[in-house]
């Protein structure tokens, strides 16, 4: 009981923080920064405590269930389970780093900035923790408002265009999800007489295939825009490039996981038959995303754009892991989500650090940083290697397991006479090669060659920046060297997901 109260505290702490920040006098910049950081640190400590007490053998834990709109069967249901535990940890882990990272970069409207950081933290945690579709949708949409302001106020030159595009894109998916959600709950009521939005009630619903296909299309469109999957990705480069460093870190670190998490927790388990029906198509789109994102990353001249397009590529692995329906692939997908959050988040923070010094993001402006900023270069290289998926880093664990899952599924399909899945798996491996190419090209151009920077002399990393990068690198290597505990946490959920998505097939086959 006490633990579920603690989880509520974790969720509502940033909300309370938002209100508290609003009441502070705008002139007290240090106080605002300090409070924001303290709130995030406390939140991370609480999450760490809860994750440590999380029992992998059980499903939903630390749950709260209170009636919210009783007439409709909407309950405030939140809880920690194998699906969200790592992502909640990731969100809480990145929280303090995001605040620290913005320490120097943001001076305009400081109070609003930190209030919005707390606000988006609240919305993101709520989306992960929600166990009720209505609550999930409310938090899902609530993420838009703070992000709209973060990109639109503190972003680059084309910030208004980018933020409008971001919101209009994502809201379009959401509106269709809303229609599907209403239909789904209404169908539940029609068939069983239960008025409920609980995931647990909705997942057991046995819909006819054509309804499943429509609903998956609606939910899937919303999630696919968020992932983003090719061809719905065009908002991402704009949003990433125009967003301030903080916005990019939140986007890459957590927000992009919303799409894949949505598929994992809701999209696929709610509509298993349709998922199996569409899996080859979705797999094809994911592989296309891996390759297309990688190819585009190869030719960018802006550091942020390289990382933005690499995100499209890396999240493709999450999708193929989820769609392999193999335990190892699913677990790999979850680890890859966390890994990408850490690595891409870290890389964006590092872009921010160099941008603060030189006010340029052009690759051509830099060279020989290894001599100018040795510490920076070491950290950048390590994150690059993690992004490439070198063994001992988290990127390896995630991508390797996801690919392993894809291959396992491919062999099975091959044995059944369908070689398409195997072809996809092979193509996805090609993405790893391309990934090495564009990331090493970026690192090579920045770190080696003639010493060149738009603003000399350059100071190497200061204590604050070192602390941020040490924390991220520690997590990256921890997941790479000892992924055991993390995999243990998610194993139950991965098994459950697999059973739900494949389960109906087994019964069908028996008929």
């Amino acid at each position: 009981m006490a633990d579920s109260a603690l989880l509520n505290l974790v969720l509502w702490l940033p909300f309370a923080g938002m209100l508290a920040l609003a009441l502070l006098p705008a002139a007290r910049a240090e106080l605002i920064r300090g409070l924001s950081l303290a709130l995030m640190a406390v939140q991370f400590a609480l999450v760490a405590w809860l994750v440590a007490r999380f029992d992998p053998a059980q499903g939903l834990q630390f749950a709260t269930d209170l009636p919210w709109i009783p007439d409709w069967g909407v309950h405030y249901r939140i809880g920690l389970d194998g699906y969200n535990v790592l992502l909640v940890a990731l969100t809480a882990f990145l929280g303090p780093l995001v605040v620290l990272g913005a320490q120097r970069a943001v001076t305009k409207d400081l109070k609003l900035f930190h209030a919005m950081i707390q606000g988006i933290q609240f919305a993101m945690l709520g989306t992960f923790l929600a166990q009720d579709l209505f609550v999930f949708y409310v938090f899902w949409e609530a993420m838009l408002i703070p992000m709209f302001l973060i990109i639109g106020i503190w972003g680059g030159e084309r910030r208004v265009y980018a933020t409008m595009k971001f919101v209009l894109y994502t809201a379009f998916g959401s509106i269709l999800m809303l229609a599907a959600l209403i239909y789904l709950v209404w169908t539940l009521n029609q068939t069983t007489g239960v008025r409920s939005f609980a995931f647990a009630d909705l997942i057991g619903l046995n819909l006819p295939l054509d309804a499943q296909l429509w609903l998956l299309a609606a939910f899937g469109l919303s999630f696919a825009i968020k992932v983003p999957m090719v061809p719905l990705h065009t908002w991402l480069p704009d949003a990433h490039v125009e967003a301030p460093t903080t916005g990019s870190v939140i986007l890459a670190g957590v927000l992009l996981k919303m799409g894949t998490y949505g598929f994992l927790k809701l999209g696929f388990p709610l509509f298993p038959e349709a998922t199996r029906e569409l899996a080859p198509w979705l797999m094809g789109l994911s592989v296309a995303g891996i390759l297309y994102g990688a190819c585009l990353a190869l030719v960018q001249d802006d550091i942020k754009k390289v990382i933005a397009y690499s995100s499209i590529s890396h999240l493709g692995y999450v999708m193929i892991g989820l769609l392999s329906f193999e335990l190892v692939g699913i677990q790999g997908a979850i680890v890859q989500m966390v890994s990408h959050g850490l690595v891409a988040g870290g890389l964006f923070l590092m872009v921010g650090m160099i941008y603060e010094r030189c006010h340029s993001r052009k690759i051509a402006d830099y060279g020989g940083l290894a001599k100018l900023m040795p510490l920076y270069s070491v950290a950048f290289l390590l994150l690059t290697l993690a992004s490439v998926g070198l063994p001992t880093t988290s990127g390896f664990t995630g991508e390797f397991m996801a690919l392993l899952g894809a291959f396992a599924a491919g062999w099975k399909a091959q044995a059944a006479g369908d070689s398409l899945m195997l072809v996809y798996a092979v193509l996805a491996v090609l993405g790893v090669v391309l990934g090495a190419l564009y990331m090493l090209r970026l690192a090579g151009a920045l770190l080696f060659g003639a010493e060149r920077a738009p603003h000399a002399p350059l100071n190497d990393l200061d204590g604050r920046e070192r602390a941020i990068l040490v924390a991220i690198l520690a997590a990256v290597f921890w997941l790479g060297l000892a992924p055991g505990p993390a995999l243990e946490l998610t194993e139950g959920a991965a098994r459950e997901y697999r059973a739900i998505v494949l389960g109906h097939a087994a019964t069908e086959g028996g008929q």
Binding site: D71, W72, L112, E141, V167
Partner: protein, 459 residues
Amino acid sequence: MNVGAILIGMLPEHLLLGGVVTLMLAEIAGRREAGFAIALGAVLAALAAAGWMALTGFAGTPFPGHLSVDALAVTGKLLVLGLAFPVLLVSRDDFRDTRYYALLLSSLYGASLIPAAESFTTLFLAIELLSLPVYVLVMIGMQRPGGTEAALKYLVLGSTATAMLLMGISLLYGVTGSMAITAFADGLSGGQPLALAGAALVVLALLLKSAIVPFHAWAPDAYEAACVPVTAHMASIVKSGALLAALTVIGTTTLPASLLMLIATLALASMAWGNLAAIGQAGFRRLFAYSSIAHAGYLWFAFLGAGEGRSEAIVYYLIAYALMGLVAFSALPRGTDDAREDRLAALQGLFHRQPLAAVLLAAAMLSLAGLPPLPGFVAKFLVFQNVLAAGHVALAVLGLLASYLGLYVYLRVVQALFMAESPADASARPRALAWLALTLTALPAGWLMFFPGSVLGLL
């Protein structure tokens, strides 16, 4: 005649009438500056009376066959009178004479009467009493050179609605031989073409009063020409009055497919056109008028739902919509030059001048856009849920897509508030009493955001 029932059942209206009479006496006595205080007293007393009726679960029939007070009627009264309080508060600085308040109270009397109407005679009187003073109110502020023209346009189109309503009532009377509101349902159940024509005319008249496409053209002009308090009155109380009238007439009646399709088509057209046309507007009140056209579309969409759910959906929507509209109007910076302040450009950078007003104005805009967790979301959800549950899946999806079109407009206002530089000459700020109105509307809106269940449970 039951004197007791007349006295108590119409107590809020009596108090409003008392206010109007006192205002006239004050005018005669030359105490024109007392107008605001008298009106405020009358509205608060009427609100208290309606509140007492709601708490005691009052039900009575002051005029059998014409006027009957039930739970829904009390809720409707409570809604319009509750909205009248903030409207009055934003009026004080623009109008310090008695005429304005006498007209406002008369209009309010009509609005308060509408949900209790049991016969078309009463309903007709109530609607006219609601509308006639507003024609004058649009003109009285004379903020714009085009004010008279806009008022005339409103009057002519309003009179067209009146004519259609009368024609429809006569046709229904011709078929059923009754002036009771139930003649609408009885006529429709008979299935005669004449009755259908009558019902359609009544519906069309009410659509015109709610500013539904293609009968919407009066709204942008009237909203723009009137001054802020009158626009606030039109956007909240008059809109509620029109919808409550529709709810009184249609109620839980099962509509024939032809009428249903008529409503669905026009409502969808309103949502789409209101949202699209709002994009091009440079003035805030004109933008709000187009937004109100779109919202009238959502409100009328609720009639596609099953009979029992309609009143809950419409009343909840009206509460959320009118509250957030009033939040927006109270938060508007006001100075001396209305034409300049009404421009959207005048709102640029408001966050840096008036952070709280800007935040609340932005919240109002996003609520109108229907973004969760703001109150507008649950309201929209309820409407579309009912439409879908009635089996109109395709229409519900189309409606949701049409509502998506509106997002850009509201985001543009938020963008102006937060992401633009202040104009050099910006000195306008919300007025003192408007802050009180803002508090009075923002607090219940906040309650609605966190505890929608508590209000839905009451409806």
